[in-house]
Symmetry: C2
Subunit: 226 residues, 2 copies
């Protein structure tokens, strides 16, 4: 039974990769850099976007917002006057716990790609399946809140390995937690040696400038892969 | 394509329910109360079990520990001298983001049911799929950390509706967060009116006695459904 399941999963991932390549072609044709932003529920993806999307010098940014249900985050981001497109996986996609390439594909007609330099795809809050489904993105970034504990890289290694940047968020809480930051970074390096990381706080804005700089850098025209 | 997917999902859930009933029969035959404990990653499931499992008066407790990878939580709980059995979904189960009835079924030969009054099944950290897969449990409990924000019931309503008890954890952090507890409780009641909730802190032990009492109550022999 499990061998059958593994084969079905492999077929699904193959089909997903084919559609992801079509998405990527569309992004490249429009010279849009696409970032897939992932995290556990409540780690602070939306807050970290709120802090930077309004102030990206010369970068025209948009968001594709993934949720199981509702549009709370999309409404928050729309106040920044950036184009936001909502995908609800509970609406026609079986309530999936992640975005996949086909959901993104079906949403692209609503995304004004020709008017964007940067599209951030905010994935469903989940540390497992989003790491398995590429959606055509150029870059994968994850947010990990210090409130989640130091052991997360060891428990969800695929997610931490899939990303090229880890935003360690809510560092303003460090004085109030039994959290050993060095231990977290040791665990992070154990599963993804040397991966770029930024210590940030959406609340105090510490580290937010470095996050904004990172986005500006990847969104620069010369940074878009051919 | 999505209609096919929905049909496959329905078939999978039907098969899951059949196996869940077999698990439930085994639990009932051994007079073991089974609690399915769910949350987002890092909400504090293991810490809240550490606080109570050693001190359940007259209740012989065990744990079935679900993770994608590794046995860190099982090792923590084993120090309490309760029987702990590990399920790794990454080991033969395709790295699934949730436990299902079949994974539990295949693990039961390693669980000393005849020596237990209470079995806590600690699910994979995820607010989506664990709510869809019954594993034969009598009770479903979830942990929601205040660090995750007030909006979680609205974004993951199925999980909050599926549970009969919500443990609102890490309340020691409330003075350090922009978190409106009343708003969270309002959102909780919007998706699951009147659901039992306990405000707890695994760090300070506030509310932990009520959580211990709840477990002791459901594990009492007369509480096990026939």
């Amino acid at each position: 039974m499990h061998r059958v399941r593994v084969r079905i999963v492999e077929d699904v991932l193959d089909a997903n990769d084919t559609i992801a390549r079509a998405n990527r072609d569309d992004f490249d044709a429009n010279a849009v850099t696409v970032v897939n932003l992932m995290s556990a529920p409540g780690a602070g993806k939306t807050s970290l976007l709120e802090r930077v999307l309004g102030g990206l010098d010369g970068v025209r940014a948009g968001v594709l917002e993934g949720d199981v249900q509702g549009s709370l985050d999309a409404e928050r981001l729309a106040t920044l006057h950036v184009p936001v497109t909502q995908i609800e996986t509970g609406n026609g996609f079986g309530g999936e716990c992640h975005l996949d390439a086909n959901m993104v594909r079906l949403s692209l007609p609503q995304v004004p790609l020709e008017k964007l330099d940067l599209l951030v795809i905010e994935n469903v809050g989940n540390l497992v399946c989003p790491a398995e489904f590429r959606v055509g993105e150029h870059h994968r970034v994850m947010v990990c809140s210090v409130a989640e504990g130091e052991d997360k890289p060891l428990k969800y290694p695929l997610m931490f390995r899939a990303c090229e940047l880890v935003l360690v968020n809510k560092i303003d809480l460090l004085p109030h937690l039994d959290y050993d930051l060095d231990k977290f970074l040791y665990n992070l390096d154990a599963v993804h040696p040397g991966v770029e990381r930024l210590l940030v706080s959406a609340k105090t804005s510490e580290g937010v400038e470095a996050w904004r700089d990172w986005l500006t850098r990847v969104a620069a025209p010369e940074a878009v892969p051919a």
